[in-house]
């Protein structure tokens, strides 16, 4: 709360380091990138420590001046704080994961990652509509380069698809933003969050934003860029994609669609619930038949993101808190799973599930970590996944029992494909010679996976640390939505013992 512009500094450090990286040799670039991301992580911890829970909604606000059409205005609330923490936490891990795996054009690689970090923090901290859009959209450039230069065999197709798909989604949002600033006379996000737009316009605006966020999220049926991008991206690129970039869609719904267009959100809830229910079941089934590990995890991401959207559009405290928790948990768990894939990919240079088997025998340490992350992805109690999915589905049940019922089957299917993956890769006999020759985790790899494992357990055992900062913001949001919240069909009654609801049944399987 002091005058120290901590958010701008968090943006400046990786930006400056990115520029310097371009002019130094490979090894210096690695250390420089690691140092910059670690400094940002420390600053992030400072941000969290200084964050006044229960204080004003917007903290660390900086507003040095206008840049013509838009303003340079930064600030965070609880949602933004947690997502920034996720970004700065994953970033040093990504740099570490690329330490030996990336050997060509290292300085450019590190610069691209540092740039991505700047843009992600900027997206979450921006308090001006256009500043948000600039950060949001600019993230395409480094990701395009990361996929295109350091990606796999089919990287060119994947990079184009990623870029054009997401760009097309976003331009409609920009038109809506222009209309909104014209109507409200300001592009200040906190003001717009309390502006009541006319109901007929809201539907159009909501759809324009939906076009962008649905692609970023990604929601079925516009999810097809994700498996391609994931499979072709280098390991660290997948971690950032799954860990943070996918959260931009959820953050967008939370920051824009819900508070700015409550009437339209309520009116179109059926659309979100329908698409999410399809996504959960369809992509889970698709994940079951994948032979490529990264593709399997990519499809599981789509399913998890669908749980986020139904939670958000439950219009109640549990749903929204749950959605946030799923986002954080998925960021950690799927990021860690991609790292696990990267570990064995570095050794055998294939992601074919059938090429592996019996890793528990020669890589016991790896098997333990992989199991923990698999469980977190399934949503086992005690891990981070459980808290979010349980809350999210509980919130949904109040609005639509059918959607909750359908989405809960996703948990069962999730357990099926994840355990099936784990069994084929880790259990069984060690029959292949090249697999037998694989060595267990190195110290560097343990150092990358252990922090994530610790946070996943922390989030599973004591989620209050993560829910406290956002509780106030969730209440504000629920209050804003209260007059439009759909009635719901669960009809809870007092006095009678509640029947076993599908949501519970699903979570305790």
């Amino acid at each position: 709360m002091s005058g120290f512009p901590i958010l701008s500094v968090m943006l400046a450090i990786p930006a400056i380091a990115a520029v310097i990286c371009l002019f130094v040799p490979a090894n210096t670039a690695r250390w420089l990138a690691l140092a910059a991301t670690l400094i940002d992580f420390v600053l992030g911890i400072g941000l969290w420590a200084q964050f006044d829970i229960g204080g004003p909604q917007w903290q660390f606000v900086e507003y040095p001046g206008s840049l013509g059409v838009f303003d340079w205005k930064l600030g965070v609330d609880g949602f933004a704080l947690l997502l920034i923490m996720l970004s700065v936490f994953l970033m040093p891990i990504c740099i570490g994961a690329s330490w030996v795996a990336v050997t060509k054009r290292v300085p450019e690689y590190m610069a691209a990652f540092l740039l991505t970090e700047v843009l992600m923090i900027g997206t979450f901290a921006a308090q001006d509509l256009f500043l948000f859009y600039i950060f949001f959209e600019a993230g395409l450039i480094p990701m395009y380069l990361i996929i295109g230069i350091w990606g796999g065999a089919n990287r060119i197709y994947a990079s184009y698809k990623f870029f054009l798909y997401t760009l097309l989604g976003s331009v409609l949002m920009l038109v809506a933003m222009l209309w909104m600033t014209n109507y409200a006379g300001t592009s200040d996000i906190p003001t717009l969050m309390n502006t009541d737009f006319p109901a007929h316009a809201q539907v159009w605006l909501w759809l324009a934003f939906f076009a962008s966020f649905a692609v970023k999220m990604p929601m079925w049926p516009v999810h097809t860029w994700l498996p391609d991008a994931h499979v072709q991206a280098p390991t660290a690129g997948s971690v950032i994609l799954a860990g943070v970039l996918l959260k931009l869609g959820g953050y967008g719904f939370l920051r824009f669609s819900l508070p700015m267009f409550p009437e339209a959100s309520s009116e179109l809830t059926w659309l979100i619930l329908g698409l999410s229910a399809v996504a959960v079941i369809y992509t889970s089934l698709v994940a079951l038949v994948q032979s490529d590990m990264k593709k399997l995890i990519a499809y599981s991401s789509v399913a998890h993101m669908a749980i986020v959207t139904i939670g958000l559009f439950a219009f109640n405290q549990q749903g929204i808190e749950g959605a946030m928790m799923v986002m954080l948990s998925h960021g950690l768990a799927s990021g860690a799973l991609f790292l696990c894939v990267g570990v064995i990919y570095d050794r055998l240079h294939t992601r074919e599930i059938d090429r592996y088997g019996g890793l528990a025998i020669n890589m016991p340490g790896y098997a333990v970590f992989f199991l923990l992350f698999t469980m977190a992805s399934i949503g086992l109690p005690g891990t981070s996944g459980f808290v979010g999915e349980f809350l999210s589905l509980m919130g949904t049940y109040k609005v639509s029992t059918w959607a909750a019922l359908l989405c809960t089957t996703g948990i069962i299917l999730g357990a099926a494909y994840m355990l099936y993956l784990y069994r084929r890769v880790v259990f069984g006999d060690l029959v292949k010679d090249d697999v037998r020759a694989m060595t267990d985790l190195s110290r560097r790899e343990i150092a990358l996976l252990a922090p994530i494992a610790a946070v996943i357990l922390w989030m599973g055992v004591y989620p209050e640390s993560f829910m406290a900062p956002m509780r106030g913001d969730v209440s504000t949001l629920v209050a804003r939505l209260a007059h439009t919240a759909p009635a719901g069909d669960s009809k809870p009654t007092t006095g009678k013992a509640p029947a076993a609801s599908p949501a519970h049944a699903g979570d305790h399987q």
């Binding site: 001046g65 840049l67 450019e108 600039i134 600019a138 450039i141 990079s159 331009v171 409609l172 038109v175």
Partner: protein
């Protein structure tokens, strides 16, 4: 008003005209040897004309009984024109020196100066005849410039094509002018404006359509764009850079002035034309560029595409719209000149210029600085934030949305995604593909500096200029209303 007072208001054009006449004599007597001196003197004269703009010629009002408007709008456009012209002169000598056979002749800078004087008249004209004379002075100089490589058949073809189609366009424009004169009884913008405000005669509408068709030729908006790719490809690269920047700015500023000052009351009539031309240019410019393998043709279609976006700002027809046009043109000039300067560096091992996109393959590994600069220009032309090309697009679309033109904004934005594809392709070739034979090194320091300056201007560092540029362009735009 005395003649001297009138002349002071037109000082920039006076400086350019006298300067170019003097230099013409110098080059006639000095011959080939004087090229270098004439070039730098021409740059100095352009700078002098720019300094002259700081005087009353940027805010003095009407000169020569309304034939000439000395206002902030004209001054803003002239600054852009002078900068583009100076860069076109600076980048020429090395190109001609290295291209087999033809050294740069001293007439080149002289022609550019004459063309600039014509463009100054175009953007400051307060009368259709002043406008036409300025336009012809600019065009005639440009026809010669297009065929400046006398031994090159492509260059000669470009010059001829440009001449024939340019003459046709001038004819159409003149026909429109005669109709407007016939039905309004005057050629000055003020009187024409009164005529449009008064009667709704069919003749005036016909005149408007022909005037706009003629101007669309000059700014190469669809459906009058056909000459652009051929001329851009055939003309010597520095000349192409000039064509893509200065005359574009001049013709666009001229169109804005005619639309607002002379035909302001008929906004509803010309808006339909502008909207059609804008969308058609954006879409055709984007789609046709996809199949191109020559970088100069690609940039030609890119300029058609960009003209479409500029017209979106004009379609709004508000002060904000005009300001966005000026801002867009500023950014566009920087991106275009920067791109062509990079194209100028593309030479194979023997020093011959190469123009295929494939020869850029792997440029990021052989010449990282050059590749980064071109990547910045390409992303900026595609309108991807945080580069200034995005801010320019944002400005024109903001004006359009504020004026209530929602379908135009949606269609324009969606079509811009098509355009992004071919800009991305250039980046892909440079960054993702394996290195092709390295380009010959040894570009001049001045050219490198100009590339760097343009790249820095469109990069996020250029954000610090957003607020002042926004103020200046709005101030310039207000002088029209």
């Amino acid at each position: 008003m005395t003649t001297s007072a009138n002349l002071i208001l037109t000082l920039p054009e006076v400086v350019l005209s006298l300067g170019s006449l003097a230099l013409m004599l110098v080059s006639a007597w000095g011959g080939q040897a004087s090229t270098r001196a004439v070039s730098w003197t021409a740059v100095a004269i352009l700078a002098g004309a720019g300094i002259a703009l700081t005087g009353p010629s940027s805010h003095g009002g009407l000169a020569f009984d309304g034939l000439y408007h000395a206002d902030a709008f004209g001054a803003f456009a002239k600054v852009l024109i002078y900068i583009a012209a100076a860069v076109a002169i600076i980048m020429a000598p090395r190109f001609f020196e290295r291209t087999a056979g033809d050294d740069l002749r001293p007439e080149y800078p002289v022609l550019i100066l004459l063309s600039s004087a014509g463009m100054g008249m175009m953007v400051s004209a307060g009368d259709l005849l002043t406008l036409y004379v300025g336009l012809e002075l600019q065009s005639l100089a440009a026809y010669v410039l297009a065929s400046f490589m006398r031994r090159d058949t492509r260059s000669a073809e470009a010059g001829l094509k440009y001449f024939v189609l340019g003459a046709l366009a001038s004819g159409i424009l003149l026909y429109g002018i005669s109709l407007v004169y016939g039905f309004s009884g005057s050629t000055t913008f003020d009187q024409i404006s009164n005529a449009y405000a008064g009667s709704k005669s069919l003749g005036l509408t016909f005149g408007l359509v022909f005037v706009f068709a003629g101007m669309a030729f000059k700014i190469s908006a669809v459906p009058f764009h056909m000459w652009t790719p051929d001329v851009y490809e055939g003309a010597p690269t520095p000349v192409t850079a000039f064509f893509a920047s200065a005359p574009k700015v001049a013709a666009m500023a001229m169109a804005v002035r005619v639309a607002i000052e002379a035909m302001g009351p008929a906004t509803d009539a010309w808006r339909q034309i502008v909207i059609f031309a804008a969308l058609a240019s954006i879409i055709l410019g984007a789609v046709a560029a996809i199949g191109q393998s020559n970088i100069k043709r690609l940039l030609a279609y890119s300029s058609i595409n960009n003209v479409g976006f500029v017209l979106v700002g004009l379609a709004a027809g508000t002060p904000d719209g005009v300001a966005s046009v000026l801002f867009y043109l500023t950014v566009y000039v920087a991106m275009t000149l920067g791109s062509f300067l990079v194209v100028l560096q593309m030479r194979d091992a023997t020093g011959e210029p190469v123009e295929t996109i494939a020869s850029l393959s792997g440029l990021s590994q052989t010449r990282p600085g050059l590749a980064a600069a071109l990547a910045i220009f390409m992303f900026s032309l595609a309108g991807i934030p945080p580069l200034l090309g995005f801010n320019a697009k944002l400005a024109v679309f903001k004006a359009a949305v504020d004026a209530g033109l929602y379908p135009l904004a949606v269609a324009g934005f969606v079509a811009s995604v098509i355009g992004a594809y071919y800009y991305l392709r250039v980046v892909k070739v440079m960054y993702f593909d394996d290195p092709a034979p390295e380009f010959q090194r040894g570009g001049s320091v001045v050219e490198g500096g100009l590339i760097a300056a343009a790249a820095v201007f469109v990069s996020p560092i250029g954000w610090i200029l957003l607020a002042p540029l926004g103020m200046l362009s709005l101030n310039a735009a207000r002088s029209l209303f």
